[in-house]
C-alpha cells in the first residue's frame, strides 16, 4: 500500500520531523509430521511520526491511516518532544545533519499471487517426499513464511521514499532418534523476494533435503568436540554471524557511544591485513543484497560502511544523531521494524570480503581442528566476546575431514580472533534468514567466505 501524499502534511511540521506510513504482512504455514500446526496470516499497518528538537525526541504512532490520525500523530509527537524539552534543556542547541534522498524500490513479484492452499500443498509435497524416502526420521517440521515490509516516508528535510522489501523463507527442522534421545538439524532456503519468486517447485529442494538428512545421520553418529582453543574453519554461515554479531554490533555508533570496546580502536590495526569487513547498503559485486536498503527511515541515502579495511578499523555505522555526535556523515543505517517502532542503528548486509584461498587447501592446512558448517544462534558483547551455537561441524585431523560433531558452542573475543585469521576463501555466500534483535526485530543479511582462525570450542 503505497501512500502517495505524505508531503501534504508538511505544514503540520514545526521541527525536524519524520513521517512514515508502513504495512507489514506476514504469512506462515507450518507442517509438523504432516499435520498443519499453523495456517496464519497477519497484516499490521499504521502511521508514525518522530520529532527532534533541542536534543530530545518525541514519537507517536497510530494504526489508523487517515488524514486526521496522521495529523494527530504529528501533533502528539510534537507534544512529546515539548514535554522532554521542558524537563531537560541541557541539550538545547543540538541540530541534526540535513539529508535529502528520493527513491522508490519495489521488489514485489510480477507473477500472480498464490493463495495459502497452494503453499500448504507445496510443503505437503515436500513432506510426502521425506515421509516416503526417510521413514526413519523422528520428526519433520516444515515452515514456509513470507514477510512484506512496505514503507512510505517523508521528512522535513525533504526526503521522500517508498520501498517494498519482501522476504520469503522455507525452513526445515528434522530429527532422528539416537540412543533414546532426539538429534536435530535445520536449514533455511529463500531470501529477498515473495514466495512466488523464491519457490518454484517442491522438487527443487529434494537434493538439499537428501544432503540435510545425510548430515543429520552423520551428526547422530557424531562425537563430542574436544573442549579447548582450536584451529577452525568457519564456513560462510559462521563467518556471516561473526561479521554481524561479534564485529557489527560493536561498531554500531550508538553502542560505541554506550561504551563498546570498538570505541577504543578507531584507526587501529585490529585484524590480520587479510580482513576487510563491509556493511553493504544494497549491492555487493553488482548483485542485490538480501536486505537492500536504498534510503533509511530517517530519509538518508544508504551507503556502504567499510568497517574494517585491510585489518584496520575504519568506520562506524550511523544514524543522524550519532553522526552529529561523531561529526561525520550519516550512513543510512536507521531502520524500524513496525510502523510503531522508531528507527534505530541497524546493520543491513554485513560480510567479510573474500580472499584468495580455497576450502580444500584451508582444510589441508589444519592438523587438529574443526570445520564448522551450521550455526543455531549467536550473541556478542560490548567487549566483542561472542558465542555461536554450532549445529553441524566436522573434526579435521591431519589435514583431512573426520567425524561429525554433536551440537556445541564456540566463543572468543572477536578483535583477538580476527588477528588469528590466516586464510580466507575466494567465494561468498549470503544468508538472509536472520532476524536481529535490538529493542526491535529487523531482517538482516549476513555473508562471507570461509575463514580460518582460532576460537574456543566447548565440549566435554
Amino acid at each position: 500500500m503505497k501512500y502517495e501524499h505524505l508531503n501534504q502534511f508538511k505544514d503540520n511540521f514545526s521541527n525536524y520531523t519524520e513521517l512514515r506510513v508502513q504495512e507489514n504482512r506476514n504469512n506462515r504455514v507450518n507442517l509438523t509430521n504432516g499435520n498443519v500446526t499453523s495456517n496464519f496470516a497477519a497484516t499490521n499497518s499504521g502511521v508514525s511520526a518522530r520529532v527532534f528538537k533541542d536534543g530530545n525526541w518525541g514519537f507517536s504512532s497510530s494504526p489508523d491511516i487517515t488524514d486526521e490520525s496522521i495529523s494527530n500523530v504529528v501533533k502528539t509527537s510534537s507534544e512529546n518532544v515539548q514535554f522532554m524539552n521542558k524537563k531537560n534543556a541541557t541539550r538545547c542547541g543540538f541540530f541534526l545533519p540535513e539529508t535529502q534522498a528520493n527513491h522508490e524500490m519495489d521488489f514485489s513479484t510480477h507473477k500472480n499471487r498464490q493463495n495459502q492452499k497452494y503453499w500448504i500443498d507445496f510443503i505437503r509435497e515436500i513432506d510426502g517426499y521425506m515421509e516416503k524416502k526417510y521413514p526413519e526420521l523422528l520428526s519433520r517440521n516444515i515452515i514456509m513464511s513470507g514477510l512484506d515490509m512496505e514503507k512510505s516516508l517523508f521528512t522535513s528535510d525533504g526526503s521522500e521514499s517508498y520501498s517494498m522489501t519482501p522476504r520469503a523463507l522455507l525452513y526445515l527442522i528434522l530429527s532422528i532418534e539416537k540412543d533414546g534421545s532426539p538429534i536435530s538439524i535445520g536449514n533455511p532456503w529463500g531470501g529477498l523476494g515473495q514466495l512466488e519468486d523464491k519457490f518454484l517447485k517442491p522438487a527443487d529442494y529434494y537434493f538439499g533435503i537428501d544432503t540435510l538428512v545425510e548430515k543429520l545421520k552423520q551428526k547422530a553418529d557424531g562425537v563430542y568436540a574436544e573442549a579447548g582453543y582450536k584451529d577452525v574453519i568457519l564456513d560462510a554461515d559462521l563467518a556471516g554471524i561473526l561479521a554481524h554479531e561479534a564485529i557489527g554490533h560493536t561498531t554500531e555508533a550508538d553502542l560505541v557511544m554506550g561504551g563498546s570496546v570498538a570505541g577504543n580502536y578507531m584507526g587501529q590495526s585490529i585484524a590480520n591485513p587479510l580482513v576487510t569487513l563491509i556493511d553493504y547498503a544494497n549491492t555487493c559485486n553488482g548483485e542485490t543484497c538480501p536486505v537492500p536498503v536504498y534510503v533509511d527511515d530517517e530519509g538518508t541515502r544508504s551507503e556502504d560502511v567499510i568497517i574494517i579495511k585491510d585489518g584496520v578499523l575504519k568506520e562506524f555505522m550511523h544514524n543522524k544523531d550519532s553522526a552529529r555526535h561523531f561529526e561525520v556523515d550519516p550512513t543510512g543505517n536507521a531502520r524500524a521494524y513496525e510502523f510503531s517502532d522508531e528507527p534505530l542503528i541497524r546493520m543491513r548486509n554485513t560480510a567479510f570480503v573474500p580472499g584468495n584461498n580455497n576450502l580444500a587447501e584451508m582444510i589441508s592446512s589444519i592438523d587438529d581442528g574443526y570445520y564448522l558448517v551450521k550455526t543455531g544462534n549467536g550473541q556478542a558483547d560490548s567487549t566483542s566476546e561472542f558465542m555461536f551455537a554450532i549445529t553441524m561441524g566436522y573434526e579435521i585431523k591431519n589435514g583431512k575431514l573426520g567425524r561429525a560433531i554433536k551440537d556445541t558452542t564456540i566463543s572468543g573475543v572477536a578483535f583477538d580472533v580476527l588477528k588469528t585469521v590466516d586464510m580466507i576463501s575466494s567465494d561468498i555466500s549470503w544468508s538472509s534468514a536472520g532476524m536481529c534483535g535490538k529493542k526491535q526485530l529487523i531482517p538482516v543479511g549476513m555473508g562471507g567466505p570461509a575463514i580460518k582462525c582460532k576460537v574456543n570450542i566447548g565440549g566435554r
Binding site: 554506550g258 561504551g259 567487549t383 566476546e385 556445541t408 566447548g458
Partner: protein, 428 residues
C-alpha cells in the same frame, strides 16, 4: 461500533460466512514509554495499538489471521481471507475452540500513568546510577506504562473482558574505565504500582554493583567439573528448557524428552515448580489462556514429579492427553532451606552463573555457552569475575543432579525465582 459491538460483528459475520466454529480476540492498548539512551533521557513515545485475532474452523479445517483495524470493511476483508485459508487447509479432528464458560470481566492496575511521576522515577534512577556507580554507562533504560482493554469471544458463547494497566522497567548497562569495558548486563521487572526507587526492584542494584566489579575479569586456570550456582536472572532460561519440552511443539513433533513422563520423576525431588498466572504474588500474569479458557494456577513439577504437560487445546486433543489449565509462564519455584550465600559457602569449586550466552539446549538437552557476568567460586568464596569461560552439560541430567535451592527468591513481577545450584557441570 463500540469495541463489544465490533467483536460481535466479527463473530456474526464469521457464522454467516459459514464458519462451524470461530473465535475473535480484540486488544486495544496505549503505551507511554520513556527512554534513556547513553545516560540521558532523550525520547518519549506514545503508541496506540490495536490487534484483532480471528480463528475459524470449517469442516475441521482451520485458519487464523490478525489485523490491526476495526472498521467493518477491514473486518470483512479479513473474514474472507481467513475463510479461504481454512478452506485451503487440511482437516484435523484435533482443531477446536474453548467450550462455553460463564462470562466474566477482570481488571487490574492503573487506568493511566502520571507521566511526570514516571519521568521523576526514571530521572532519579539515572542520577542514582551516576552518583553511586560513576563507571557505569547506562546504555539504555526503558520505563513504560501500558494500558490494554481486551475482549475474547467465541461461537460457543465464551465472553471475557479484561482491562489491565502495567508498568515495566528494563535497564541495559555496562561499565567502562580508561582501559577496560565490562560485559553488558540487563534485567527488569513488571509492577502494578511504582512505589519505591527503581533500583530497589528485583536484582537491579545487585547487577549494577557487579557490573563495576566486572571491569577486571580473569580466566580460570584449568578446566574442571564442579558446581554451578545459577542466579534468579539466569535460571529462567534453564527452566524454559523443561517448559518447552512439555509444550505443544516438542510434544507433537515427538522430540520431547518428557512425553511419557507424567506422574514420574523427571528432576531432583527438591524442585517444585508452579505456574501461577492468577496469583496475587505475580503482577504480570494473565486471566485467560490463548485458547479462551479461564486461566488457573497449577503445579507443573511437585517434588521432582511431573504433574502436567503444558498442552494447549490442539496439543491435548492431538495427543489424547489432558489440556493444561494455563499457558505456562508466571513461574514460581518453591524456596529451599538456606540462603544463596550459604549455598555458595559449600561450593568447593564452581561458577556463579549470572548470564548464560549460549545456544538453546539441543533436543537431547546438551548445552554449552559462555558464562557472562559470572564469578569463579573456590573453597566457598566468590573469587573473581570471569572472562572467556564456558559452561557445558546436559539440561535433563543437570536438573536430575540438582544440588540446592535457595530460601531467598526474587520477584520480577512476571515470575518468582531462587538461586539453584547444580552438580557435575564442565567449566572450561
Amino acid at each position: 461500533m463500540d469495541r463489544k459491538e465490533t467483536v460481535n460483528y466479527c463473530l456474526d459475520s464469521l457464522k454467516k460466512a459459514g464458519a462451524d466454529k470461530a473465535a475473535c480476540a480484540l486488544n486495544i492498548s496505549e503505551k507511554k514509554e520513556l527512554n534513556v539512551e547513553i545516560g540521558e533521557m532523550t525520547l518519549l513515545r506514545t503508541t496506540f495499538n490495536t490487534n484483532m485475532g480471528i480463528s475459524v474452523i470449517k469442516d475441521q479445517k482451520k485458519g487464523s489471521t490478525s489485523i490491526n483495524k476495526t472498521d467493518k470493511e477491514s473486518i470483512d476483508v479479513a473474514i474472507e481471507l481467513v475463510m479461504g485459508m481454512s478452506k485451503g487447509s487440511q482437516p484435523d479432528d484435533a482443531y477446536d475452540i474453548a467450550e462455553y464458560q460463564p462470562a466474566q470481566s477482570f481488571s487490574k492496575g492503573d487506568v493511566s500513568a502520571n507521566l511526570d511521576t514516571m519521568y521523576q522515577s526514571l530521572e532519579e534512577f539515572v542520577e542514582y546510577v551516576k552518583t553511586t556507580y560513576p563507571q557505569i554507562q547506562l546504555e539504555q533504560a526503558i520505563m513504560d506504562f501500558n494500558h490494554s482493554h481486551s475482549l475474547f469471544q467465541n461461537s460457543n458463547g465464551v465472553d471475557f473482558e479484561i482491562r489491565e494497566g502495567m508498568y515495566g522497567f528494563s535497564p541495559f548497562f555496562l561499565s567502562k574505565d580508561e582501559k577496560n569495558t565490562s560485559s553488558f548486563n540487563y534485567t527488569g521487572f513488571s509492577a502494578l504500582k511504582i512505589d519505591k526507587p527503581l533500583h530497589n526492584y528485583g536484582t537491579i542494584d545487585t547487577l549494577l554493583k557487579q557490573s563495576v566489579e566486572q571491569l577486571h575479569t580473569r580466566n580460570i586456570k584449568d578446566k574442571f567439573i564442579g558446581k554451578m550456582v545459577v542466579t534468579p536472572d539466569c535460571i529462567g532460561e534453564f527452566l524454559d528448557f523443561i517448559a518447552n519440552d512439555i509444550s505443544d511443539g516438542k510434544m507433537i513433533s515427538g522430540n520431547s524428552l518428557y512425553k511419557e513422563k507424567l506422574d514420574k520423576k523427571i528432576v531432583h525431588p527438591k524442585l517444585t515448580l508452579h505456574s501461577r498466572p492468577v496469583s496475587d504474588e505475580i503482577a504480570d500474569g494473565y486471566f485467560v489462556t490463548s485458547d479462551g479458557y479461564l486461566a488457573e494456577n497449577s503445579t507443573i513439577i511437585d517434588e521432582g514429579i511431573l504433574k502436567t504437560h503444558l498442552l494447549g487445546l490442539y496439543g491435548s486433543k492431538k495427543l489424547g492427553k489432558s489440556r493444561a489449565v494455563n499457558d505456562g509462564g508466571a513461574y514460581i519455584v518453591d524456596p529451599g532451606d538456606r540462603s544463596h550465600t550459604d549455598i555458595i559457602k559449600d561450593v568447593e569449586q564452581g561458577v556463579l552463573l549470572a548470564r548464560f550466552s549460549g545456544g538453546y539446549p539441543a533436543s537431547n538437552g546438551d548445552f554449552s555457552g559462555v558464562a557472562k557476568n559470572s564469578y569463579y567460586i573456590e573453597n566457598g568464596e566468590i573469587k573473581y569475575p570471569l572472562i572467556e569461560t564456558m559452561v557445558s552439560g546436559n539440561a535433563q541430567e543437570m536438573f536430575e543432579n540438582l544440588d540446592e535451592i535457595s530460601r531467598d527468591r526474587i520477584n520480577f513481577g512476571s515470575c518468582i525465582l531462587p538461586w539453584i545450584s547444580f552438580k557435575g557441570i564442565t567449566v572450561s
